[in-house]
Subunit: 440 residues, 2 copies
């Protein structure tokens, strides 16, 4: 992408409304724009990161056997009356009447709708286990949306829903998602700690929040320090292996971790003081087992091997992509801007032409841009006539992992400078070496 | 994907509510489910097709220089009051009040919001031309939603918006999208005819609808037959070449074509009778040039090379992916089901195990499934214990281009049957030959 033809509106000034660093950097880098309170556009740079986050989430959901569909944003109130949540949900639910005066709502979550889909088609235990997910917009009318897309009203959520014949089966489904989440956050460059959590309005008796530690987090969390060194389940994890997943689950729940709602002072105090971690955290995922809470009132039954009908055991599993983007920034930035993990960087590299219009600089940059692009790399080429200092500041701000800098002096000797955004290390090398370094 | 682990709820009976073939087939193949009037879930098979359609649209938008972002679904009423459309839009606009009693709406289109984004950041003609698009849900509260996702209330739209300093520039931007649309529909396996069209509530004085001919179409269309043989612009079309795009545009608008709103009887009658085409059509895209209709009331100005401020000239360009899926089916099906063009097929091939549980059949199928999957093909493996007849009917219904059929007799001689869904041609070949045929 040539910057001269891109739309990446960089703000020079720190926006006053931003209270936390991720919000400030997302606004400054032209990733998002607030359209109304707690409702954001994702500008092109932000959209690229969001897409990469979603693709990692999707990849790991699929690996764990979940199947993607897409449910609509607007729901009929009737479904929520069946489950009993229509009246219970409160003012966070955006209630709407259509032109026929039928009560609708903008879905804050999809337990009811997916249960309705399930009961319409699935009649036998032979179709189980089943896990259906979508990545879809949700709306929760927060009284105080803030921190940019960290706590917004219209937001994106990956929500998966599992269906099993028995509690035992449902626990296996739960552990599949537990494992998939560990892998997902790791691939996003985050160390997330699963913590026992309150089940809140979803209901149920087994629930974990996945929390990353950050000073700006909204939750208080208490855990054992050992988590930081636990191994992430491997890419070839067999999700059908009940004992294997159980071992992963046991390991990751073997030491103390809880949010303030579930905090047990006595248990925490029993940990040697030097191993205690008490910090603030950002919730980036939440998983629930809630048994027959929805299947029973909504009549989602299957015939079991015994020939009888059984209410299915369900769980739901949420990750917020539009919250994950700022969470990644909170975990990875410096005073000059964002430092993207390579897996979610909007571009793999930025080519900086320090003297656009200079024939040698132009030729060097075009060569690098063409070679990397045709090899499938996402490259931003800063071909504008801005000052070199502005270009450097922009490249640092947007946090692309590698900067390839072509100035007249180096280019005269057939060389460019390659800078690692994270470490700041710079290396001068030939143009071909720079290309090979990126492709290597 | 193993069918035994997939969610593809096939309906055996023809659903009563379906009036047109695409609606019937989408319901029967388990592609969609109506959640409330005119509001659909896209079940996994449908989601796969929709994703492929969106990716082709995206690819051609990017090729034409448009830049993707993502605007939210909910908009503030204020923006629409600025443009004057809030009161004008009528009952199709879903109006909402949030918990603070602020008037909002579910966006039926995004001219106002994108103009607001533009005016916030772009100040100079040097940033032009600019074309921003997103693929996002829209809501239009149709009084009579029908024909499944062909005319639904919550639907997906790719909407692009161009910004230029002058009318001349805007016409070039218009022709970029005109050309991109010809390529897009062609890649989707459709022959779309651009027709002069009424600009309706969007406004403006230059507009084309892209129409595909189908008996179930809602529009009456009149055109010259020559369209059917016009060449589609090539993949290496230079979108910056003003004269080149103009030649494409002139060619494709050189002969008569109009919807009923713009129909000119005299001009049509001047065509030799054997060359007249009078038919029903489905609108699959609509492009507009509307000058300063929004930039003027909303103050979207840039400084020109003359140092003065100019209202930008705008256009908007829509394609409905959730309508395109049924449109493709209307254009490509037979009495047994859907016939997908390869570019949008939910799977590249289906492997049919005629005797699941038979060691030789299982081994042959697993070998083919593994070889094709690891080569990046999307393969559905029917490993269920359904009857062979049911499996054949399902494969035909869902319209996957190639069926690889493994029965005990053929497999005993190391062979399988390969069936072309479109022609019905069947060929017996070795397992390796079948694999190579798919990979070739």
């Amino acid at each position: 992408m040539r910057l001269s033809r891109y739309f990446m509106p960089i703000l020079k000034e720190n926006p006053k409304e931003a209270e936390i660093v991720s919000h400030r950097l997302m606004l400054r880098a032209g990733m998002i724009r607030q359209q109304s309170q707690g409702i954001y556009s994702w500008l092109p740079l932000g959209k690229r990161v969001l897409d990469k986050v979603n693709n990692i989430i999707r990849d790991e959901q699929n690996r764990a056997g979940a199947i993607e569909l897409s449910m609509p944003t607007l729901q009929s109130a009737e479904l929520w009356q069946e489950s009993g949540r229509y009246d219970a949900y409160g003012k966070e639910m955006l209630r709407i009447k259509d032109r026929q005066d039928r009560p609708m709502l903008y879905g804050p979550t999809n337990e009811e709708m997916v249960t309705d889909i399930f009961r319409s088609y699935v009649k036998s235990y032979k179709s189980l286990p089943l896990n259906l997910y979508h990545i879809q917009l949700k709306f929760r009318d927060e009284i105080r949306p803030r921190f940019g897309t960290m706590r917004s009203r219209e937001f994106m959520m990956k929500d998966a829903y599992s269906f099993d014949l028995t509690r035992e089966g449902a626990e296996h489904s739960y552990k599949k998602m537990f494992t998939a989440y560990l892998r997902t956050f790791d691939r996003l460059g985050l160390r997330a700690i699963p913590m026992r959590a309150d089940t809140g309005p979803i209901g149920g008796d087994l629930s974990h929040e996945f929390i990353i530690l950050a000073d700006t987090g909204e939750s208080e969390v208490y855990s054992h320090k050992d988590f930081v060194d636990f191994d992430i389940p491997a890419v070839d994890t067999d999700f059908d292996d009940v004992a294997g997943l159980d071992a992963i689950f046991k390991k990751w729940t073997s030491v103390y971790a809880a949010t303030s709602e579930m905090h047990d002072e006595a248990a925490f105090d029993a940990i040697p003081e030097s191993d205690r971690l008490s910090a603030r955290g950002i919730e980036v995922g939440h998983i629930f087992y809630f048994g027959t809470k929805y299947s029973e009132p909504m009549g989602a039954k299957v015939q079991g091997p015994d020939g009888k009908e059984h209410n299915v055991h369900m769980g739901s599993y949420g990750i917020g992509p539009t919250r994950l983007v700022p969470a990644i920034i909170e975990a990875s930035h410096d005073e000059n801007g964002i430092i993207w993990p390579a897996s979610v960087a909007p571009f793999d590299a930025v080519v900086i032409n320090m003297k656009a219009g200079d024939a040698a600089c132009d030729a060097a940059c075009e060569k690098i841009y063409a070679a990397l692009s045709s090899a499938g790399k996402d490259v931003l080429y800063d071909d504008t006539d801005d000052r070199a200092g502005t270009k450097f500041a922009t490249a640092d701000l947007i946090g692309v992992p590698v900067q390839i800098i072509a100035g007249p002096r180096a280019v005269a000797s057939g060389e460019v400078e390659v800078k690692d955004r994270k470490t700041g290390a710079r290396e001068t090398m030939t143009i071909d070496a720079a290309i090979n370094k990126l492709l290597g």
